[in-house]
């Protein structure tokens, strides 16, 4: 007999009912890995959505002075970098450096030229990424020598910068927005199409089911990459198209899973009981089939999102995905992989974000599967 099952049931005198969802939630809460992952995912989403507003650098801003700057928790420029930046500026001003000193974050510089120096040349100083707020201090009577001061801009690049000198932190966060959005949206698209299609096929059964599932088989046989390349060729590179392509391919799995579930639920005695009560098909679908389908759908959804993120990364890696200056984790990893020798941080940070998110999603998916698995009950 089912002694264990009976023993595990809650005591019969509890008056407040606990639904299967409540039960599943209690199980999930007991699963530390899943709860930690859930928390981590929430944090990741929050950081990616709100983070870019709090990072002082825009993800498109190019700091030509800071190309491939390694990550550091200290402010840039470092002492030895000021001289290099200064040389660059003076070269553009076509003047020679006579003397300079750095005090309290302001540099006082004396330069000399072969021709009288125009004050307006100081704009070059302001334009530099290192200096700011350039002020004329003194000028020799013949105009060949000038002393000016400029503030040294304190900038932080916690994740370093990329090949053209853009802040990697803000780029990683913005890329996270894109990757998570694609994952979620394409996931929702795939699940919606898949559930509707699969539930219809499974519930109606018979010839309708046969035809609908053969269509799925035909779509399955189309190679995915070929499909995407075709879309890109015809419609150009387009962010929305990505959702469509990914969603249009991934709903097939969902449809099969849901159809199988619907087929088996249709044979359950509670559906027969509803038929014996005279309940209409729409009522059976609404009250019996769909609620009992949701468990596997939720589980599959958590596993679908990482799948989509990886697909997007893969497409972007091939150059078929999102385009510059917009970026995604896949794009960042692709660029980082090219620079792995000279600037490994460009690979490490986006890769860590992507991998940890995928891990968390998988843990949540596993946790949900265990929580909703009736066998364990």
């Amino acid at each position: 007999m089912t002694d264990a099952a009976v023993d595990n049931e809650p005591a019969a005198n509890v008056v407040v009912g606990r639904s299967l969802w409540g039960d599943a939630w209690a199980r999930l809460k007991a699963n530390r890995a899943a709860m930690f992952s859930l928390f981590y995912l929430g944090l990741m989403a929050l950081v990616c959505i709100a983070g870019p507003w709090f990072v002082p650098h825009d993800y498109t801003t190019i700091y030509s002075d800071y190309v491939r700057t390694p990550p550091s928790t200290e402010a840039y420029p470092k002492a030895d970098m000021v001289k290099g930046a200064l040389d660059d500026v003076l070269k553009r001003m076509r003047v020679d450096l006579k003397d300079w000193k750095l005090e309290d974050g302001r540099a006082t510089i004396t330069v000399a030229g072969t021709r009288p120096i125009d004050e307006r040349y100081l704009r070059y100083v302001d334009r530099s990424d290192t200096f700011d707020d350039a002020r004329m201090e003194a000028k020799s009577p013949d105009g060949l020598e000038m002393t000016f001061s400029a503030a040294v801009k304190q900038q932080y690049f916690l994740f370093g910068t990329d090949n053209v000198g853009r802040d990697l932190l803000s780029r990683t966060l913005v890329a996270g927005r894109i990757s998570l959005a694609i994952g979620l949206l394409a996931g929702v698209v795939a699940v919606t199409i898949g559930v509707v299609y699969g539930a219809t096929a499974g519930f109606l059964g018979g010839k309708v089911d046969e035809v609908m599932m053969r269509i799925v088989d035909v779509l399955y046989s189309l190679p995915f990459i070929f499909f995407v390349i075709m879309l890109v060729v015809f419609f150009g590179r387009n962010f929305v198209l990505m959702f469509l392509a990914v969603g249009a391919v991934l709903w097939l799995d969902m449809a099969r899973i849901v159809r199988g579930q619907a087929l088996s639920i249709r044979r359950h005695e509670y559906v027969q009981a509803a038929e014996a009560l005279g309940v209409r098909q729409s009522g059976i679908l609404k009250r019996h089939v769909i609620p009992n389908l949701l468990g596997p759908v939720v589980i599959y959804m958590t596993l679908l999102v990482p799948h989509v993120i990886i697909l997007e990364s893969f497409l972007s890696f091939l150059g078929l995905g999102v385009q510059e200056p917009m970026t995604s984790w896949g794009v960042l990893i692709s660029v980082g992989a090219h620079n792995i020798g000279s600037a490994n941080w460009m690979l490490l940070f986006p890769a860590f974000f992507l991998v940890s998110t995928l891990f968390a999603l998988n843990f949540v998916g596993d946790g949900l599967r265990d929580a909703l698995d009736p066998k364990d009950r």
Binding site: V6, G17, G278, R287
Partner: protein, 548 residues
């Protein structure tokens, strides 16, 4: 009875399971012992911990369970042994057979290879010697054509034959103790009797001890030397089988013994109107067929059956699994397509379609066998019970529906507070009450009860049998009572139809059928179910064990 050497001694065994709702103590300090060659029965209802006691002794508890106490087998405590040491005892010195013969054999391997593997492992025999030994085992358990069966796959065998194979596997290494956990519960009564007499015969040949775990007291009386009665994880009574049956000490044992459904149903007056009538009903299922899948196989599940159900009558339909009795019940409610004429309340409904049937559905109701599968797990009890009202009385407000649910649940003897809870929080008997409430809330005229008691414990069965009887008296209902359990049918029905392979083999008033069955099949059925002769004491009266 001479004193036997004690070979299995369970002392103060405790089993607890860690669950989300805290620890559950399934076994609370059980003492029992088994002597060599003895048959010990552990009896109790589901949840009494009878299976868990033996599972703990064999170290087969679920992962969230833990056992404390001592289980001594010939002086060694099994609870302290390592897995490797345990495996030298498990499966060779102590072996087990389980309830479900359909799932305990691997469908991918032949019977032969599943038998030979463990023999070779435990005895180190060569392949041909193991093959010979396996053949002998099959002969021992009376499998016909053992040579051919060695090459068969499990799906080619019937349930009874599979259980014989399981017994053969358990006996492969000449065990000291055979633990049989409800070995006959999933089988039909006639097969059940054959398996029991096989076990009795094997015991007298091989002399092993049998620990028989069951909820069925009828079996125990015929089979066991000593009995332990368990309840809520404790042994409430133990003793010689005859003593326990003739002079039960504990009130719980007395209650179990009295749990056999009693009473009988008086037939309706002869002039009662005929409510539901089926004439020459045929139900045919097609197997296979369809696009590109070859020939369609036609299976006739119900073959030219006529039934007339009068107002206030209960017709019992009896037969073994596969006899077409459930199919007949569903065909009469027009839930399955069928040929023949079906009339309800003087209307011909043989060709009524789904929408024409809808208004009639509230008068023709169905209660299912499995109270675990027939209630949607995601709906509250209140929603389940009132679902029919949504269809048949759409004008009711939510509040009125709620009041009706309270009334219906009270009528079936449940706390109305239960309507906010979910089905998985209830026991089997309570769920069956919910299913009955769902049918009764519509005030039907005819209810088909499809094995409503067979998934339930005996003491619960008695209550569930009483419930429809009382409702029948109150509301003048007519029942079609489908069951394989003759004791229940005898208490419920005033007219009986015995079915076999889709046909009626015998029908008539209940007492006439029970007192003087005419058909040979009916006689076998009666003998298997109601015979109280002991299997062991008198081997002359053994049922022919080879008949399957």
């Amino acid at each position: 009875m001479t004193a036997r050497e004690t070979i299995l001694d369970v002392r103060d065994l405790k089993v607890r399971f860690r669950t989300l709702d805290g620890d559950v103590e399934a076994v609370k300090g059980v003492n029992l012992h088994v002597g060599a060659g003895e048959t010990v029965a552990v009896v109790g209802e589901s949840g009494s911990g009878k299976s868990q006691t033996m599972m703990a002794a064999m170290n087969l508890l679920a992962s969230n369970g833990e056992a404390a106490g001592a289980v001594d087998y010939r002086g060694r405590n099994l609870l302290g042994l390592s897995k490797a040491e345990l495996n030298t005892i498990r499966g060779s010195r102590i072996s087990m057979i389980f309830q479900e013969p359909m799932t305990s054999l691997d469908p991918l391997y032949t019977i032969g290879s599943q038998l030979i593997e463990p023999i070779r492992r435990h005895r180190g025999l060569s392949r041909s010697a193991a093959h010979e030994h396996a053949l002998n085992l099959l002969r021992l358990v009376h499998i016909p054509e053992p040579e051919r069966r060695m090459k068969s796959y499990p799906h080619e065998l019937s349930g009874g034959q599979r259980q014989r194979i399981m017994i053969a596997m358990a006996l492969a290494n000449d065990p000291d103790i055979l633990i049989a956990d409800e070995p006959t519960t999933a089988l039909d009564v006639t097969i059940q009797a054959q398996i029991l007499s096989l076990l009795a015969e094997l015991q007298s040949k091989l002399g092993m001890a049998i620990v028989f775990i069951t909820h069925d007291l009828g079996i125990v009386r015929r089979f066991a030397d000593r009995v332990y009665v368990m309840r809520r994880g404790e042994v409430v009574e133990e003793g010689e089988a005859e003593a326990v049956f003739t002079k039960p000490q504990h009130p719980y044992t007395r209650m179990l013994l009295a749990a056999e459904p009693t009473g009988h149903k008086a037939p309706p007056p002869a002039n009662a109107p005929i409510l539901l009538e089926g004439r020459n009903i045929d139900v045919t299922f097609s197997i296979g067929g369809g696009f590109l899948s070859g020939e369609t196989l036609m299976l006739r599940a119900v073959d030219h059956i006529s039934v007339r159900l009068k107002r206030n009558q209960t017709i019992g339909i009896v037969g073994e699994s596969g006899s077409g009795k459930s199919t007949l019940g569903r065909a009469l409610l027009r839930l399955l397509p069928s040929d023949g004429v079906i009339r309800f309340d003087d209307r011909d409904i043989s060709h009524a379609d789904v929408s024409a049937m809808r208004p009639l559905r509230r008068e023709l109701q169905l209660v299912f066998q499995d109270p675990f599968g027939s209630l949607s797990p995601r709906m509250t009890v209140g929603q389940i019970v009132t679902e029919g009202l949504l269809v048949h009385e759409p004008a009711l407000t939510a509040k009125q529906r709620d009041q009706r649910a309270v009334a219906a649940l009270t009528e079936v003897g449940l706390d109305p507070n239960a309507r906010n809870r979910y089905p998985h929080e209830f026991s089997g008997g309570q769920r069956q009450r919910i299913a009955i409430a769902r049918a009764m809330i519509l005030k039907p005229k005819v209810v088909v009860l499809d094995e409503p008691t067979s998934a339930l414990d005996r003491s619960v069965q008695k209550q569930i049998v009483d419930l429809p009887r009382n409702l029948q008296a109150d509301h003048g209902l007519s029942y079609l009572f489908i069951s394989h359990d003759l004791a229940v049918v005898r208490a419920m029905a005033d007219y009986i139809i015995v079915m076999k392979e889709g046909r009626i083999v015998e029908e008539g008033p209940t007492e006439a059928i029970f007192d003087a069955p005419r058909d040979a099949y009916t006689q076998t059925l009666m003998a298997a179910a109601l015979d109280t002769a002991r299997f062991r004491s008198d081997h002359g009266s053994l049922l022919p064990a080879s008949r399957l």
